[in-house]
């Protein structure tokens, strides 16, 4: 093997061939355009208040510029695209996940603090002291709305609350409003100007039945008085003024005008809280330190299911490796037997389960194991008169997973073992035959010891793969049946990965922080396995 120092490879001078010159310039242009595009992304993220993502693309763009402009880094140009891809889609998500694990990011703490604030500030409520009854009058061009005030100004004198005072000021004592003809069609909120009515409307109002028919359109109406007060539908017979519910104070707190209380931003929990400690949702994500990890290890409703799933994950991965290895090894030894005919056909048929896309064969098994209609239970019923509940009994569900996974996984082991057995020198078997050794002696005294060493790293990789075998669980059982008494969605057949996925994406709570903490723990385990694998495989680079 030889190695080259690429920076010596490319001639420094201007190339004699025009095509090569143009290619170089085109490449430089491409790199420049990419850098500019990345910088534009950086700016866009920065302006939208996403500092982490801005930083990510800044690093990426800077690395691109440096690698492709310095001659010393000529070799790195070849690996840059792949390394950048990994950095962007493997390493960054990993770091981001670890970051999330120290926060309370969840479906109730999703938006940034500013977004929460602006969302609360855009909330409105109905001022009930000033409601208007309404009636519809049909005209040629649509309907005309006539509003008549029902609520009376509060008579308690000094005890008028802020919202009521605002409504009274805007109404200026007007008690009747009317609109022009409005066509009640179309979707989406519509703003309609109303003005004080001079007198009683003419004609017969529409009956309740027709009002109900117009209900959807009426609910979309926003009626604005000349002073800018907005009225909305507040029931089948009423319109009422909508007022801003919250008022921003200078010290950052919010004043709730409906319930007359002060909300203070609590940066420990990520919620606005009242004096009584009530939390107003939505909240925003804040750092909570090791809370998520503490919950996994200390909260009994989480720790119990977590340990159960942890043990099952190890058992599942270990048993899968054991079973697939056993089946694959025995078959491989049989297929290596010189005297056996038709080996090519056997081999092709035996690796069929490997050739069928896994998501299809897993779903086939899901149908076959169905308790009432599945073929397996039909056969068992005919033979023994039993119909096991494969999806409802935890232990049956677990054994079903192992059966299916052995079916899916043994061809890989078969292929590996066949490859390795071929490299065993044949005279060992000759010598064994001379000594009177049978096939079993050969199997356990010669074949197995000789292939187990090169096989070990592959077995560890296989273990790690099944440790994270999300697709099988998601498509076959979905983790069910559930563990009783767990406070997070946890199933008896869940592996750690599918458990994490369910916490993050399936539960109503969508607790990304907790899911990220478990993901981080899994990463530590898997990274340990990978290091062990590197050590055992004696990888040299």
């Amino acid at each position: 093997m030889y190695t080259t120092n690429a920076s010596r490879g490319l001639p420094r001078h201007r190339s004699r061939y025009p095509a090569e010159r143009y290619t170089r310039w085109a490449l430089r242009g491409l790199v420049a355009a990419l850098v500019l595009a990345l910088l534009w992304l950086v700016l866009a993220f920065h302006l939208h208040g996403q500092p982490i993502f801005a930083l990510l693309f800044l690093v990426l763009g800077a690395a691109l510029g440096v690698v492709f402009s310095r001659r010393r880094l000529m070799s790195h140009r070849y690996i840059f695209p792949a390394v950048a891809g990994m950095a962007l889609f493997v390493i960054f998500p990993l770091l981001y996940t670890i970051g999330i694990s120290f926060s309370n990011y969840s479906s109730s703490n999703l938006l940034s603090e500013e977004r929460v604030r602006s969302q609360l500030l855009s909330r409105t409520y109905q001022e009930e002291s000033a409601t208007f009854g309404f009636q519809l009058y049909s005209t040629d061009e649509g309907v005309r709305l006539h509003l008549e005030r029902e609520g009376r100004p509060s008579e308690s004198g000094g005890n008028v609350d802020e919202g009521e005072a605002e409504a009274e000021a805007a109404l200026r004592g007007v008690t009747r409003f009317t609109t022009g003809p409005i066509p009640l069609e179309g979707e989406g909120p519509r703003h309609v100007q109303i003005h004080p009515a001079e007198g009683e409307p003419v004609g017969e109002p529409l009956a309740m039945r027709e009002v109900i028919a117009y209900r959807a359109a009426l609910q979309n109406l926003v009626l604005a008085t000349p002073e800018g007060l907005e009225l909305r539908m507040a029931g089948l017979r009423h319109f009422a003024p909508m007022l801003d519910r919250f008022e921003a104070r200078d010290d950052g707190s919010l004043y709730d005008r409906r319930d007359d209380r002060l909300l203070i931003a609590d940066r420990e929990t990520g919620f606005f809280v009242t004096d009584e400690g009530e939390r107003i949702t939505p909240g925003w994500p804040v750092a909570v330190g090791l809370d998520n990890y503490a919950r996994i290890f200390l909260d009994p409703d989480i720790r119990g299911p977590f340990i159960q799933i942890f043990v099952w994950t190890f058992a599942f991965a270990g048993l899968t490796v054991l079973f697939t290895l056993m089946v694959g090894f025995v078959l491989a030894s049989l297929l290596q037997w010189d005297q056996l005919r038709g080996k090519a056909l056997y081999r092709t048929l035996l690796i069929l389960p490997y050739a069928v896309p896994a998501f299809i064969s897993i779903l086939i098994f899901k149908g076959m194991f169905n308790q009432h209609f599945g073929e397996i239970n039909l056969i068992l019923d005919a033979l023994f008169g039993v119909r096991p509940g494969w999806f409802t009994d935890p232990w049956l569900a677990r054994s079903m997973l192992l059966i299916v996974n052995t079916w899916l996984g043994y061809p890989y082991m078969l292929l590996l073992c066949m490859g390795l057995i071929q490299s065993i020198p044949k005279d060992l078997y000759e010598a064994s035959a001379v000594d009177g050794g049978g096939p079993l002696t050969n199997l356990f005294q010669i074949t197995l010891p000789l292939i187990i060493k090169p096989l070990t790293p592959l077995l560890i990789a296989c273990f790690a793969f099944n440790f994270n075998n999300f697709v099988l669980i998601a498509l076959l059982t979905g983790g069910n049946p559930d563990i009783l008494g767990a406070s997070t969605p946890a199933g008896t057949t869940d592996l750690l990965v599918s458990y994490t996925y369910r916490i993050a994406f399936q539960d109503a709570g969508q607790n990304f922080g907790l899911a990220a903490a478990i993901a981080t723990l899994i990463f530590v385990l898997v990274a340990g396995l990978a290091l062990l694998n590197l050590r055992l495989a004696k990888v040299r680079v």
Binding site: D338, P457, L458, L475
Partner: protein, 293 residues
């Protein structure tokens, strides 16, 4: 050929054949069953392995053609299977082409060049590759959600996002190709470079044509992996007409409404081409698997 032959050889051969055939029956039962069900009437109808009531209804529906029953009622296809298959193939083709492109150039540098950080980068790639994408789905979702605000074709519910996301999984392929490059004698390129070829030219005109077989293997492996990818597609894709086959197929067997017969036809229809392609390429795929391992 062994010199010493035990006398019981014939019995042993017979036993081996019998046990292999028995095992094959057990293994192939699910596959044969699905083919049989796809030609059988009704969803979840019970019956023998050889269909008694033959019907092409499920096949017609799987191909997207409405089926008229004997009583005159017309059944509409429940899901756009062919569209899903096309989505899967489209995404898999583009992403495996890009993966081959990226991993070949990187593998060349890793195999033939000396540069700072080579060992740590290679080892680091292997370790990070073992971390499954399922676990960082929240982060990936956030990334594509934000990217989609500025770059439309990279947002949630686009195939672009799915293709780009698969580019993170190149480490295994880089290792495979690197192993193959190292098995090719470097003196060929050295000779070319003595004659005045640049590094790139030596790579493009000498090494690349020699390594076409391994590039095919990596392409097929990446293609199969991409077709079977489930978790990322299940989170990134939302609309029914955007789904890939792996995500869409499970809708046939929803917990409360299992369409076993329709699923069987769709499964055979979409699984067969992949299976046949795999069996045709099996020799190279096996080589690639053991080279990468």
């Amino acid at each position: 050929m062994a010199m010493v032959q035990p006398r019981t050889l014939r019995w042993r051969k017979l036993a081996a054949h019998l046990s292999l055939c028995g095992f094959l029956v057990l293994i192939l039962f699910p596959l044969l069953l699905v083919i049989s069900i796809s030609f059988r009437e009704g969803n979840f109808a019970t019956g023998s392995l050889i269909p008694e009531s033959f019907s092409l209804e499920h096949w017609s529906l799987a191909l997207g053609i409405p089926w008229e029953r004997a009583d005159g009622s017309v059944v509409q296809p429940p899901f756009p299977v062919l569209l899903w298959l096309w989505n899967s193939i489209k995404v898999a083709l583009v992403s495996s082409l890009l993966i081959v492109l990226l991993s070949t150039t990187s593998a060349y540098a890793f195999a033939r060049m000396r540069f700072a950080g080579k060992g740590p980068i290679l080892k680091g790639m292997l370790i990070f590759q073992m971390f499954p994408a399922v676990l960082s789905l929240v982060a990936l979702y956030a990334l594509f959600d934000r990217l989609g605000q500025f770059v439309g074709w990279l947002g949630i519910n686009t195939h672009g996002a799915l293709i780009v996301a698969s580019l993170g999984a190149v480490a295994l392929h880089i290792w495979t190709i690197k192993g193959y490059f190292e098995s090719i004698d470097g003196s060929l390129e050295e000779a070319a470079m003595v004659d005045g070829a640049s590094t790139w030219q030596a790579f493009r005109y000498i090494l690349l044509p020699l390594s076409l077989p391994i590039l095919m293997v990596v392409f097929i492996l990446a293609f199969v992996m991409s077709i079977m990818e489930y978790p990322m597609a299940s989170v990134l894709l939302v609309d029914e007409h955007k789904l890939t086959l792996a995500v869409g197929a499970q809708q046939y067997l929803a917990d409360h409404n299992q369409r076993w017969g329709n699923f069987a036809a769709a499964a055979v229809l979409s699984g067969l081409p992949i299976t046949v392609a795999f069996l045709i390429c099996q020799r190279w795929i096996i080589g690639g698997l053991t080279a990468g391992a």
